[in-house]
C-alpha cells in the first residue's frame, strides 16, 4: 500500500500542493486526473521521492519514504516520466538494460529474456537493435515503459507488492497502443502490484482505473471509483466544463463526450 497522508509541497517558494491524501492499494489502478497545472505531476513526484513534502508524509508498504535510500526505493517502485530526451546514441536494448541494472537481478541470459519479453509486451519486438533517437515520440515512450517494467519486472517481490508510477503513460500513443499499455498496467495490478497513473483521457480512465483522484489547484476535490467520481457536478467543479456524463449501456462504465458541452 502506498499511503499519501496530508502532504503539502512547495516549489520555488510557492506552495503548489495543499494537504493531499489518498491511498493506492496493491492490485488496484489509481488514476490521478485534473486540469493542467492542478498539481498532478508534483504529487507524483512526492510519491516517487523525487520531491520532499514540507508537511505530511508518504509511506510505501509501511516504510516512510524519507527514510529509504534511492536503491531501496528503486526495488519498490518504478517511475515513467512524461518524456525523455537522450543526447547519446543508445540502442533500444541498451536503454531497457538500464532498467535491468536497477532491478538488482540475476543472470545475463535471464536478463536478456526479460528484456525481450518486455519489449514484446509494449509491442516493440524487433526494435532492440534500433537507435532510441531515431524512434517516434510514441515509440520512445513505450521504450521507456519497457525500461521501467524491466526495473520492476515482478509485481510482487519477497511477498511485498511493488508499484508503477506512470506520468501520462498513453499521452503520445495511438489508440491501439493506448489500449495495449492500459491492459499491461491492468495485468500488473491483477498480478498483485499497484499502479498510480496520471491520466488525461477520462474515458480510458473510467474503463481501466479502480480509483480516481480528481485534483484542482493543488487539492483533491473528489476520489473514489470512477462511477462515483465522474459526474456532471465534478466535471463542472474540477474542469469547469458543463458536460454530461453518460453510461455505456453494455458495460456500465461512465463516459463523457466533448460534444455534450454547452457551447
Amino acid at each position: 500500500m502506498i499511503k499519501v497522508s496530508d502532504i503539502s509541497v512547495r516549489l520555488a517558494g510557492r506552495q503548489v500542493i495543499h494537504g493531499v491524501s489518498f491511498d493506492a492499494a496493491p492490485s488496484t489502478m489509481t488514476a490521478i486526473v485534473g486540469p493542467n497545472g492542478s498539481g498532478k505531476t508534483t504529487t507524483l513526484k512526492a510519491v516517487s521521492g523525487e520531491l520532499s513534502p514540507v508537511s505530511g508524509k508518504v509511506t510505501i508498504n509501511g516504510h516512510d519514504l524519507a527514510a529509504l535510500r534511492p536503491w531501496q526505493l528503486a526495488l519498490k517502485r518504478g517511475v515513467l516520466p512524461q518524456s525523455t530526451i537522450i543526447s547519446f546514441p543508445f540502442t533500444v536494448r541498451e536503454i531497457v538494460r538500464l532498467g535491468l541494472s536497477a532491478s538488482g537481478t540475476v543472470s545475463h541470459s535471464a536478463n536478456d529474456r526479460i528484456a525481450d519479453d518486455t519489449l514484446e509486451a509494449v509491442d516493440l519486438a524487433g526494435f532492440a537493435g534500433r537507435f532510441y533517437q531515431e524512434l517516434s515520440g510514441g515509440e520512445q515512450q513505450r521504450v521507456q515503459l519497457a525500461r521501467v517494467l524491466c526495473q520492476i519486472s515482478a509485481p510482487v517481490s519477497d511477498g511485498e507488492p511493488r508499484y508503477l508510477l506512470l506520468d501520462e503513460p498513453v499521452s503520445s500513443l495511438d489508440i491501439r497502443h493506448q489500449l495495449t499499455i492500459m491492459r499491461l498496467a491492468r495485468q500488473f495490478c491483477e498480478r498483485g502490484g499497484g499502479v498510480i497513473a496520471i491520466m488525461h483521457d477520462l474515458n480510458l480512465t473510467a474503463m481501466f482505473a479502480d480509483q480516481m483522484v480528481m485534483m484542482r489547484a493543488g487539492r483533491v476535490r473528489a476520489s473514489g471509483p470512477p462511477r462515483e467520481v465522474l459526474t456532471d457536478e465534478t466535471m463542472e467543479a474540477v474542469f469547469g466544463c458543463r458536460m454530461q456524463v453518460n453510461v455505456a449501456p453494455t458495460r456500465d462504465i461512465p463516459f463523457v463526450l466533448p460534444q455534450s458541452v454547452a457551447i
Binding site: 526505493l73 526495488l75 530526451i85 543526447s87 547519446f88 546514441p89 541498451e94 538500464l98
Partner: protein, 374 residues
C-alpha cells in the same frame, strides 16, 4: 544506422566474432566494446614503445633495455647519451603523454555524462582556464601568499592549485547551466566562454604584475606541451590522475542512468547528488593535474569519447576504459608528430590537437544539432 559490408564478411570469422556481430545487430554492443578495450590496450602499448624508439636523435632502445635488465647479450654497453635520451627524455615524455591523454579523455567522458551532452569538455567550457588560473595564482602570488602551502605540499603545490581552480570553475558552471536537473547546452557553452574569458583576464592581470623570475616560470610552464616532461612532474601529477582514473569506473552505472535525466537516475536507485559531487571532483582533479604539468591541451576530451561512442555506444562501463586508452595513445602519437615533423625543432602539441579537434567539434555540432537541444 551503419550496417557495413565488413560486418557481413566477418560472419565467416571464428565463432566469437559471429557472436559479437549477432549481438551487435540485436542492439547489444558490449561484446564489441570488450573486444575494443583489449585491442586499444595493445595499440596503446605499441604506440608507447614506438614513441620511445623515435625521435630527432638516434638512440638504441634495445641496448638500454638489455643494460637495464643486466643482460650480457647487449652488442655494446649503451652510451650515457643513449641512456639519457631514452630514460630521462623520451620515457618520461611517453609516460606523461599516456597519463595526460587518459586524464583529458576521461574528464571529457565524465563531464559529457554529467552534463548529458557530447559537447561538454573541460577545455571548452573554461575548466582548463580555471585550472590555469589556479596554477598562475600560485606561481605569481605563491611565495608571498601561499608560502605555508608551498612548504606543506612541495612539488604537489602546482597540481593542487590547478585542481582548486578547476573545481571552482566546474562548480560555478554547473550551477549556472543546470536548472531542475536539466542542463541547457547553450547556457553551458556560453557560460563556459564567459568563465574562460574571465579567468583569462585575471590570469592576464597576474602575468602583468609578475616579476622577471615569475615570468620565466610562467612561460616555461605555459608552453602547453609535453616538452618539459621529467620524472618530478610525473611524480607530482601521476598520483592525482591515477586516483581519478581509479574512481571513475565506480561512476559508470550512475553516468549511464543519468543520461536519462537526473530524476530518472534517482528513480533507478542512483544517489544522484553524491554521483555529481564525485564526478565534479574527479574531473577537476584530473584536469587540474594535467594542466599543471602540460598546460592546456585541447579537444582530446571531445574527439576521443565521440569516436568511441560511434563504435561501441555510450555505455560508460566500456567508454571510460576505452577513452583512457585511446586518449593516452592519441596524445603520445600527437607528441611524436609534434617532435618529428619539423625536427629537430618542435611544434607545440596543442596546435596538432586543435587542428584535428576543432573541425571535429564543428562536425559533431552540425551533425547532432537536433538531438542536443540547441
Amino acid at each position: 544506422m551503419p550496417r557495413s559490408e565488413a560486418m557481413e564478411g566477418s560472419m565467416r570469422a571464428p565463432a566469437f566474432a559471429a557472436d559479437i556481430v549477432r549481438e551487435w545487430r540485436a542492439g547489444n554492443r558490449s561484446g564489441l566494446a570488450r573486444l575494443l578495450v583489449v585491442v586499444l590496450a595493445v595499440v596503446a602499448a605499441a604506440t608507447f614503445v614506438t614513441s620511445i624508439m623515435t625521435g630527432a636523435a638516434d638512440a638504441s632502445l634495445s641496448n638500454v633495455v638489455h643494460w637495464l635488465a643486466g643482460m650480457e647479450g647487449a652488442d655494446q654497453a649503451p652510451s650515457v647519451r643513449d641512456r639519457i635520451i631514452i630514460l630521462d627524455i623520451r620515457l618520461p615524455r611517453a609516460v606523461l603523454g599516456l597519463l595526460v591523454g587518459a586524464a583529458l579523455a576521461v574528464s571529457g567522458v565524465v563531464m559529457q555524462g554529467l552534463f548529458r551532452n557530447p559537447l561538454a569538455d573541460p577545455g571548452l567550457v573554461g575548466v582548463s582556464s580555471g585550472a590555469s588560473l589556479g596554477a598562475v595564482l600560485l606561481i605569481v602570488l605563491g611565495s608571498s601568499v601561499f608560502g605555508p602551502l608551498f612548504a606543506l605540499v612541495g612539488f604537489y603545490a602546482l597540481p593542487v592549485a590547478a585542481f582548486f581552480g578547476g573545481l571552482a570553475t566546474t562548480l560555478l558552471l554547473y550551477r549556472i547551466a543546470t536548472r531542475g536537473g536539466q542542463t541547457s547546452v547553450a547556457t553551458m557553452l556560453l557560460a563556459g566562454i564567459a568563465l574562460g574569458a574571465l579567468t583569462g583576464a585575471v590570469t592576464g592581470v597576474l602575468v602583468f604584475i609578475a616579476d622577471d623570475k615569475q615570468l620565466r616560470d610562467l612561460t616555461f610552464w605555459g608552453l602547453g606541451s609535453l616538452a618539459g616532461a621529467n620524472w618530478t612532474k610525473i611524480l607530482a601529477a601521476a598520483p592525482i590522475i591515477l586516483m581519478s582514473l581509479a574512481v571513475v569506473p565506480f561512476l559508470a552505472r550512475g553516468l549511464n542512468a543519468i543520461t536519462l535525466g537526473e530524476a530518472a537516475a534517482f528513480h533507478m536507485g542512483i544517489p544522484v547528488q553524491r554521483l555529481k559531487n564525485i564526478a565534479i571532483l574527479s574531473v577537476a582533479a584530473a584536469t587540474g593535474a594535467s594542466v599543471a604539468v602540460s598546460g592546456g591541451i585541447g579537444f582530446v576530451g571531445i574527439v576521443v569519447p565521440h569516436l568511441l561512442r560511434l563504435v561501441i555506444g555510450p555505455d560508460h562501463r566500456y567508454l571510460l576504459p576505452a577513452s583512457a586508452l585511446l586518449g593516452g595513445t592519441m596524445l603520445i602519437f600527437a607528441d611524436m608528430l609534434a617532435r618529428t615533423i619539423v625536427s629537430p625543432a618542435e611544434l607545440p602539441i596543442g596546435i596538432i590537437t586543435a587542428f584535428v579537434g576543432a573541425p571535429f567539434f564543428l562536425w559533431i555540432l552540425l551533425r547532432g544539432r537536433s538531438n542536443m537541444g540547441l
